[in-house]
């Protein structure tokens, strides 16, 4: 019985720890960083987190189901190029966005196929496709950037609702609400947790383990595609190298949010907080004029501390 009690306490503290860390960081920077606590800067924090955040919703599904997708950064690059080239070529923004999303979903489907049908370990399968998708992105323009000047495309990344809230932040929040709902209130979400917790028991309980995993990889690719579009819109340029290293930020945020790399555990609120922690850290340190190299180190340290806390909660690598 004692063990039961401790387990419960642990569950409660998972999201709470992240929340406390996030609020704590926010308060510290408000106190010491000049101009941190202003509406426009807080919006900046959100704006900065949009690309990582949108991508992290899909990654949360993947990691909870016991998988991993390190190709998302390359998908961002490739889908950005598709959107940019189509829009620059045809002037049709809707078509560009549609084809970019389709490309993202296609990339996800390939990952899903490799993992479920061909039984390749997720990290290896997506390591391979990471390379393939990046190469494809480079090939589209032989490595050149593509300016996208269509006004209708700008609002996505650079437009503000009522001149205060960036549209891409609204998109991100909407994504978090939708995925949060799916995880909590739909059979699909329940299966995601079950499959990550014990795939064999889930299969014996009649779940279509491979089917669910396949769909999850498609969603992850699709959302990475959306991130790619937002990235291109934010910079006004489709860059083949866009999103390089993004996968690590995304995975880091999901893990920071309390998800377990062995599957079955994680929450969308945790992921959002994880994304925000990284964004606040970066923003605050920039305002304090800390060199970006040091910021990178700080990010790594935060991740290590977070995971050490997770290990203290039980489990860990042996």
């Amino acid at each position: 019985m004692e063990q039961v009690k401790t387990n419960k306490k642990i569950n409660l503290s998972t999201e709470m720890t992240v929340l406390i860390a996030c609020v704590g960081l926010f308060i510290i920077f408000s106190a010491i960083a000049p101009n941190f606590l202003t509406v426009s800067n807080v919006m900046n924090v959100f704006l900065y987190s949009a690309v990582t955040g949108i991508c992290a919703t899909g990654m949360t599904l993947v990691i909870i189901s016991g998988g991993l997708d390190i190709s998302v950064g390359s998908v961002v690059g490739l889908t950005g190029m598709v959107a940019g080239l189509v829009i620059a070529g045809t002037g049709n923004v809707a078509l560009g966005i549609f084809l970019a999303l389709l490309t993202g979903a296609g990339c996800g489907a390939l990952n899903g196929l490799l993992v479920t049908r061909f039984k390749i370990v997720p990290i290896i399968a997506t390591l391979a496709t990471m390379s393939i998708f990046r190469g494809m992105a480079m090939l589209t323009t032989n490595g050149q950037s593509q300016i996208v000047s269509a006004d209708a495309f700008k609002w996505l990344g650079r437009g503000y609702l009522l001149d205060v809230v960036p549209y891409c932040v609204i998109i991100m929040i909407a994504m978090f609400i939708i995925i949060g709902y799916v995880l909590k209130n739909t059979p699909f979400g329940r299966k995601t947790y079950s499959i990550g917790g014990n795939p064999e028991a889930s299969r014996l309980a009649g779940m279509n383990v491979k089917g669910v995993r396949f769909v999850i990889y498609i969603l992850c690719g699709l959302f990475a595609g959306l991130s790619g579009i937002v990235t291109a819109s934010q910079t006004g340029t489709a860059i083949p190298a866009a999103g390089e290293g993004l996968e690590m930020d995304v995975i880091g945020a999901v893990v920071l949010g309390g998800a377990s790399m062995s599957g079955g555990k994680g929450s969308i609120v945790g992921t959002l907080l994880g994304v925000l922690i990284f964004a606040i850290l970066q923003n605050g340190l920039t305002l304090l004029n800390v060199m970006s190299f040091w910021q990178t180190i700080a990010k790594g340290i935060v991740l290590v501390i977070a995971v050490m806390l997770d290990v203290a909660r039980g489990g860990g690598y042996e």
Partner: protein
Amino acid sequence: MESNRYLLQMKGVTKRFPGVLALNNVDLELYAGEVLALLGENGAGKSTLIKILSGAYNADEGEILIDGEVQNYHTPREANDQGVSIIYQELNYLNDLTVAENIFLNRWPRGKSGQVDWKKLRNAAREILDMLEVDIPTGAYMRDLSVAEKQLVEIAKALSQKMKILVMDEPTSALSEKEAEKLMKLVAKLRDQGTGIIFISHRLDELFQIADRVQVMRDGERVGVVKMKEAQREELIRMMVGREVNMFYPKREVEKKQTVLKVKGLTTDYLKDISFEVKAGEILGVFGLMGSGRTEMAQCIFGTHKIHSGEIYVDGTLKKIRKPADAIASGIAYVTAERKKDGLILIQSVRDNIMTASVDKYSTPFRINHKKEKEIAVKWKEKFAIKTPDLNTVVNGLSGGNQQKVVLAKWLATDPKVLILNEPTRGIDVGAKTEIYKLMEDFCEKGLGVVMISSELPEILQLADRVMVMCEGKATAEFARGEMNQEKLMHGAIGEV
């Protein structure tokens, strides 16, 4: 006098697990240069005793003497240093290393600067294999060897250390007759060289052929030790099963109705032409020892094992079952033998676990009916008296009995017509066992057909309306409730009908 001294003596060994007394004051004596057979049903305590000898478990009470000296080891490594070598049923080897590397695993001969001396390694391995008259090349990879050859390598590995006592746990169960014969010769040779050998097997013929004495165990106790020359089959079987069946739980009479499950001519690589029927309200016991094919049979019916031929009918309708989802849709539920491995999602709550097999049942694809699910979880929790602080408690922390109740609740929540149980009370304390038996009968009364696979005789005798006995993939016998007894079942299970 000297020749009379025991090589190994285990005295008053007692081992408790939560809720179970696995070994109760057990003795064991072994002379140098003899083969001692260890005989008993599954769960009699043989494995626990061996694990204590090997240092994998530590005894709660009792002591181990080797060559008259009290031993004080606590790990397999330390036991090994004292000359105890165990060859488990599940062999321990590294597939991607060579035979020579495996024999000297982590004890590779070193050269001057600390590098592995490959030539010395090969020669040493060759020497040992030659001693065993085994002609496996030392450079062959383990993965390319047959099971029998792998076993020989394990023996060579044991020999390469200062082996005094060799324990073999069902060494012939995976071997062909010819291979088994060869192994027997080797065992005899080692014995003649002065090794003390403990040989665990269910095959009586084998034991009569190789063993000098046999120690029979039952329910965690030593029943007796007999010289093999003077032993008789009948007597041994009686010793193995001869407990008085505890009738504290009388069988309830339930009316049998129409046939709910009919299996016809089920055949796989291992199973041969298995057929049986189960009626609504009936408990069909399936008795068999390890390797009898009982689990494979259940897997076939549940769609997780490939069938060569055979038909499965539920309520008189032929069902095509290719995956668990098909079986569940046909009204079949299957409680596996290892609840922690494939029955539960340990990091999830009681409630989520109860709903695992009915996720889609009460919900639309876009909305889980939380209220309905809660009602169902509460209902099952109360019906099964699952002891848990609340429904959101993680199942990992519950006792074995309560975990098993959660698994049963999960399957009964799917409203099955047939419930297949594999070792339904393994590792559960007596109180919870009785509760689970009572629940099974409750559901029989409501028209459920039950197939109960078990290697525990008392359980089968108490609960089953009929029993099908299996041995090496075949159904060897079938008894109605009135005509079954322990000896008959055990005869069938060791293939001596």
